[in-house]
Amino acid sequence: MVGILYVDPHISHEAVRYPTKMAANGMEEDFDDGEQPEITTISDPHLRMGISARWGAGNQLAVHAALHPPQEGVTSGIRESPRVHEVRWGTQEVNNPIIRKLINETHGTFVALQHHQPDTTSTTSNRKPQLSNFSRKYRSVIRACLMQLKQAEEAARDDVTAEEYGLQVEIYSMVELIWSLCEILFVESLPGGVVLAQLLDWVKWHFNEADGYAREATTSDTPHLHDSYWSAIYLYVLQGRGDEARKLLSLDPTRSMDVYDEYASIDELLRKMPFFTLYTGQSLAEFDMKWRHWQDECRRRYSEGEFNTNKNLETICRILCGDEDVFLELKDLTETWYRMLVSKLLYCNPTVKAFDLQYHVKACIDAYDGHATLGPLDNILLAAIEFDLHQVIKESSSLLGNWWFVAHLADLLFQCGQLESHSLNYGSNLREFLLLDYASSLMSHPSLWQVGASYLDYCPEFGRYYLEFYLERLPLQTEQKALKVLRECEKRDMKDISHSICKVMGVRALRNERLGSALSWALRSKDASFATFLADRFLSEYSSKGGFSSLDLLDNLGTAMVLSDRLTFLGKYREFHRLHEEWEFKSAANLLLQLLTNRMAPKKFWLTLLTDALPLLESEEVIFSTQQTYELMNCLEDISLSFRSSAYLHGDQPGDAQLKPTKGQQEVEKQKLDLIRLALARNLARAILSEGSLE
């Protein structure tokens, strides 16, 4: 976990500082970049004396006032009850219901992507189509999310919510834009590296003002005179959408059919414009030839002055000819350097390779006032075009403040084999670092811990350690939740954590005086010492109340009772009672004797056992044989001796003064012993008689 807590003595109210946006490359570098940590002020006068904090679940700190270092004899001087402040960060967007859908929906895709890897042992080139499928799945979820965000923004009742959603719309529009560019450049990477067709699709998909202009123009009474008419046509041409441009052109009524028809001429050029598509079996050289041919024809018609009379058509023709100046003239229509880049490449260099894109960038950026004015989004796209993935991810994480995007993108690129060379001096690698942070933000959410746990599974180096910490700290409100957390532990073979969860639940049940429930938790985790403790509680409950609770459980312990000796004794002792109740005196007596002679019963319980033997000794029928009676007498002597020992008289340990039996208790016990002795003697006499008479 990355995070620093600063205590600044110069500020009257101590402040907790932490970076809200931790860029992918770690903290130190952030500060080198001059990014200031964000300061949050907690207004609590007590914090003046000092401040201390503990990590909570994920991006959460519990901050409280404390002396540093704690000094003996120095009181805090706080009169009213001290406060604990909870500081959270980076969890806001997780609370947005639409983003939660995105998180859950992409979780499935993410896991499928991880599992898909080992299935295909084939080379990377064969995996490409599958990987781009995954990329498209992600993108379709982003798109769905974006649409819902837009709907929510429109439907928002108050400005604050609308603004919030507006912000998210902005972020996810950028996410979609960056993702699709990365998909084209890194995931799909077509044979031969010709990317223009994809880039055109990219521009078409994200920037559809042309359709808007066209709609405005065509819905007016005189489309050709509408302001947007030519803008729409230019944009269509710039995006390589010849058919749409031709349709719009045909609406112009000033077109004179009788004289030389320059409209027909431009229409023909647009119609004949060749496109390079992969799947038509056309070779690059073939296309290049066709293209030159077509563009030569454009240039010829332009230089022959065919469009001199119509400035607008002339502009179109200049675009088709790939005239550099015309793109500068139209830069207000293309709006951004990257759109200009695509348009320009379409007419100047249609067979450009992905790796060569960066050489064409500068001119376009210069057209829009140069590098200095580039915004963060531009920088990200630029870095992508320059194939600097590290930079893409770094800039994205600081711009978007959103771990979802960078974590998934980094993972996808990692799966494509594009990210292998990046190893970091902290953490294991960039992918894992980002996944850890994304998972941490999920773990900070009260409800998304299952999704977070699943992401941590795919962080080979640190995931498990993180997960252990998180799972241990999850609040367990209900048994069902405890069972689910236990299941997550068992899945990953985290014995210690599951043990401690069972213990927590068991102790909680114990506090609620639900001994049966507590015992079932102890049995579940095979916690022998806790089971022994609980068995003792059952026994002392029996001694004080003269009966057992939780009979349904005790009677059906079965093989579970072997977990601890004490529990076995408890189970057997209860069995003795049952046999007694069922008038099975003979077997009851045998069981009782067995409990005493094989030393299964704790010594302090012997007297109770012998007292239980009384009714059996006094029954009409002789139950204990002479041999058995001798053994009982042996036990009786054993405890009478121990009653005289100092350990019994003065407590087992020196500190156990309160356990020391009172005078009255000693008297009662002495009477009991005498009674048992008498009963044993009488039984012995009867047993000798009956055994003698049998012979």
């Binding site: 939660r100 409800s447 409100q477 609620n512 005086e513 059906n556």
Partner: protein
């Protein structure tokens, strides 16, 4: 052919129930209620499932509209205190909800304004010395409503009575996880593998009978009674197996069938076609069990039992791949101590263990990985809710 519709709902769904048909309605129910858990603010939500529109051919691949039109639409919602542990429609417009706070709340659905409102709340029905503890299950045959909880208590309440009319305090020493009620007979399952039957007519708080799993004490999470033959009870528990009990007979289940990899959270008989059964699990699967195909001649007993576990092993391994597997159940870990004649031809579910009955199991969700917490079935439509914050509706299931 079955089709699956998924809707992400931004909350983990713990319980889901179809609404029973209205008084005049002829077609099957298209409204269901869902309850969330583990959220900062949990909710009870009512959903409407629109009819499948006529398939329009040639719709653009990117077009979202045809896909969205059949997804469940939110009708109304109401905040709920604590996790929603169980839901039950008392009738057409009354929903009973059990909470992890120990409260049980009756919600009324107002059709005209499409709102849910609180009709009545029984506070802390389940508690440890006054402090509320989760109420885990509900059952009702009006006017009686029975609730069970982690405190091992059974409460009988009635609508319009503020206090419970009967409370059995120490019904169980462990947590009671689910309950079923028929006339005066209450059946519960607990977290130490026991199934208990209580008779509400008797004054004693002792169960009339206790049934238990032999061997390991596996917590049981859910139960359902056969709609036609109330002595047949299906339960599922922590090990994911399906246990069939015959309440007229043994102390132990009649059959145990290895099923899901992890905890089975809910099991339900089809209300009108009881030869079909549905179960869902923590491992993310939703299964349809079918015993309607009776084989005329008993199968040769030569097939070793091992093959059964092998098939299941394969099923577990390829959990996400198989669509339908036929399984022959032969033998059972619980040897019958009763003469075979006494259970002859009683129900295909009880025959499943003798090898005379063919059980066909098919998986209804193929790509889900998160726990399926609840399911409900009406007609040929199954609805289920998951920890992946999704509701799945599977339409047109093959029911013979």
């Amino acid at each position: 052919m079955a089709e699956t519709i998924a809707e992400f709902v931004s909350e983990k769904v713990n319980k889901i129930r179809w609404r029973p048909q209205g008084p005049q309605a002829l077609q099957q129910s298209d409204v269901f209620v869902s309850g969330s858990w583990d959220n900062e603010e949990n909710r009870v939500r009512l959903w409407h499932l629109p009819d499948t529109p006529v398939k329009t051919e040639g719709v653009a691949a990117k077009g979202q509209l045809p896909a969205r039109a059949v997804e469940p639409r939110l009708l109304c919602e109401v905040p709920h205190q604590g996790d929603v542990k169980d839901l039950k429609f008392l009738d057409y417009d009354k929903i009973l909800a059990a909470s992890s706070t120990g409260n049980v709340t009756l919600y009324k659905h107002h059709h005209n304004s499409q709102t849910l409102s609180v009709g009545q709340t029984w506070e802390s029905l389940h508690h440890h010395g006054g402090r509320g503890c989760p109420c885990t299950g509900l059952a009702a045959t009006l006017p009686d409503i029975v609730t069970v909880g982690e405190d091992g208590r059974i409460n009988v309440v009635r609508v319009d009575h503020r206090a419970p009319i009967r409370t059995i305090d120490d019904a169980d020493s462990c947590t009671l996880n689910a309950v079923s009620l028929k006339a005066f007979e209450v059946i519960t399952v607990n977290s130490s593998g026991q199934l208990k039957v209580f008779d509400l007519r008797r004054p004693s708080s002792e169960p009339t009978r206790i049934f238990l799993l032999s061997g390991e004490r596996i917590p049981l999470h859910c139960l359902d009674k056969h709609p036609g033959q109330p002595h047949i009870v299906a339960t599922g528990g922590q090990d994911g197996s399906l246990y069939m009990w015959d309440l007229r007979q043994e102390r132990h289940p009649v059959s145990a069938m290895d099923a899901h990899a992890w905890d089975m959270w809910e099991v339900l008989f089809h209300p009108t076609h009881p030869d079909h059964l549905f179960s869902c699990s923590q491992d993310g699967s939703l299964w349809h069990w079918d015993v309607s195909m009776t084989t005329a001649t008993p199968l040769a007993m030569a097939t070793p039992t091992a093959s059964r576990s092998l098939v299941f092993l394969l099923m577990k391994r390829n959990r996400l791949k198989f669509s339908s597997i036929c399984v022959q159940f032969l033998g059972t870990p619980f040897p019958s101590r009763l003469p075979a004649a006494s259970q002859a031809q009683s129900s295909p579910w009880l025959l499943a263990k003798t090898g005379k009955q063919k059980v066909e199991v098919s998986s209804l969700l193929l790509d889900n990985i998160m726990s399926v917490n609840s399911l409900d079935i009406v007609g040929r439509n199954v609805v289920c809710g998951t920890d992946g914050e999704a509701i799945y509706v599977v339409r047109n299931i093959n029911i013979r």
